[in-house]
Amino acid sequence: MDNDDFSKLLQDESFLNYCFSRNKEDVGYWEKWLQENPQHRERVGELKTLAIMLAEEVMLQEEDTAFNSLRKQIVVYENKKAKKTPSATSLWIGIAASFIAFLLFSVYIYLKVNSTENQQLASEIVHGGNKATLSLPDGRTIKLNEIHGGIILHDEHIVYDDGSTIAADIGRSHGHNDREKLMLTLTTPKGGQYQVTLPDGTRVWLNSASSLIYPVSFASQEERRVRLTGEGYFEVTPDKSLPFRVETSKQEIQVVGTRFNVNSYSDEPSEKTTLIEGTVKVTGGNGDKLLKPGQMATIDEGIQVSRADMKSVLSWKEGKFVFDDETLESIMRKIARWYDVEVLYQGANMQEKFGGTVSRYDHVSKVLKALELTEGVRFKIEGRRIIVMK
């Protein structure tokens, strides 16, 4: 047994090219050689395994080392950021500068608004934004601030994303032991969207015309249960001891720790649940299905699983409309919810299909123009009403 040869073969360029399928000649050469010497196939295979494993391990280690070096740089940056506190003088300068900038900006806006080209675009229809209301257990309903986009519930206080208080001690007014049964409801109107963080850290994003009913606390419960109407994107904190369940009008989704999107609008023909990461069990229709990442369950009378087009399913959350071979009817329903408009059909073919991507923050006329470019449809805007024609 000559140990020198072991190292030699792994150093040989043509053999390595064969192991990693890098060029046809070397792969061809070695495969032909193996055909002529089949008794060595297993042994060569093992050497190939070794080479491949070595390649992967060394890459992981290189990447890890490089990232650790980057992490150190990030720590330095974060520390510098924390140390930057403005002095009194610079604070006043900052305020003065902002004020002047604000004046200039107002003048600019005033001039722009009065220019003739803008008169044409002026319309009452405005795109959606961060609108929602929150109902508390004691009966109060709070309209949430549009500057913030999310709320966090912890320890029975509700705060905005930046920590400012919305309501404190919501369990207090009832003063008895089953506080866990107290529920909150977050509702978005047409043209609204909002995000909420639940007591266990789970985050939920709500699309327009949707609502989420959830308890004040998950403590001493056997499960984490919430109820959704409309559309929501979930990022559930993993907790094997406490399963997370989402209930909609047609389905129940059981979750351990994952990311998924649920579309359960009552004016859509079926409800759709799409899994991005993790595992969920969807019960609805007349049975239940276990989803894998990248799959979507469609629930109407029955329940079916198919591959999802992730881009279009999650597009709302990224501020876009991505239409993927979608009927005009379905597209107009999405537009109606986000822009809070009414849709009337006059002769247009509702089943005609369209595809494309457009920003949700564009003016509705721009979105409609994009559809018009296909020459399959025409639109007219009258106040808050959109008329769809052939």
């Binding site: 047994m1 000559d2 140990n3 040869d5 072991f6 190292s7 030699k8 073969l9 792994l10 150093q11 040989d12 360029e13 043509s14 053999f15 390595l16 090219n17 990693f20 399928s21 890098r22 050689w33 060595h40 042994r43 060569v44 295979g45 093992e46 050497l47 395994t49 070794l50 080479a51 491949i52 494993m53 070595l54 390649a55 992967e56 391990e57 060394v58 890459m59 992981l60 280690q61 290189e62 990447e63 080392t65 490089a66 990232f67 070096s69 980057l70 740089q73 990030i74 940056y77 990311r259 991005i276 990461e277 992730m310 881009k311 999650l314 959350k317 990224e318 501020g319």
Partner: protein, 213 residues
């Protein structure tokens, strides 16, 4: 994970999560994914390992500092690759046209080893994997870098000598030293299967010599 790194579709969810929430886990996943691809590009363009690592890390530091502003980036893959190439070539004049050309020149990275693993026997796999992991962890940086360049990236001995600015003989001997260490580690464990492999190498070696001289 497949071998096609060209469009970055794999990282869509992570990019969006990172940009909206500055999530560390997503950031790390994006880094892992692009480290391989960008270092591959860098090596194929004959840059040194130090330079490549610095450019990748500078780029990602920038992404970390400005993540929350990047929501408007339409194509994160092009954004990252263009950013990297700009730093690498130290030029601001790289437009998207150049990037596409540059990318098309480059081969796809070979299919990552994990895919091929499934075909191989389980017993051998776990034992060898353990040895290889330990071996790589204890490898001195220089040797590890060259093994990375030879085995994972697939550079020729000539290319490695240029990229690391050493003689080709230094490359041969550095790689030999590392592989020899690995051989000894495996020998120590006395795996029956690999001992058979070593025995068969004699035949392979002579045959190889015979056909390549």
């Amino acid at each position: 994970m497949g071998g096609n790194f060209k469009n970055g579709k794999d990282m869509d969810v992570q990019w969006n999560t990172f940009v909206q929430t500055m999530d560390e886990k997503s950031y790390r996943e994006i880094y892992s994914h692009y480290y391989r691809y960008l270092s591959f590009i860098g090596f194929k363009k004959n840059f040194s390992p130090a330079r490549i690592k610095d450019c990748i890390n500078d780029l990602f530091l920038y992404l970390w500092e400005n993540g929350y502003k990047l929501g408007a980036v339409r194509n994160h893959h092009n954004y990252i690759v263009t950013g990297f190439l700009r730093k690498l070539f130290r030029t601001e004049s790289l437009d998207s046209h150049n990037t596409v050309e540059l990318e098309e020149e480059l081969f796809d990275l070979p299919i990552t080893p994990s895919v091929e693993m499934q075909v191989i026997q389980k017993d051998i796999q776990s034992d060898i994997k353990r040895i290889v992991k330990r071996f790589v962890k204890e490898l001195p940086v220089r040797q590890r870098q060259m093994i990375y360049q030879k085995f994972y990236i697939g550079l020729s001995y000539q290319e490695i000598s240029k990229a690391n600015n050493v003689s080709i003989n230094t490359v041969y001997s550095t790689i030999y030293t590392a592989l020899d260490k690995l051989r000894k580690l495996i020998g120590k464990e006395q795996l029956a299967v690999l001992s058979m492999v070593l025995g068969a190498i004699v035949i392979l070696f002579f045959f190889f010599l015979k056909n390549h001289s």
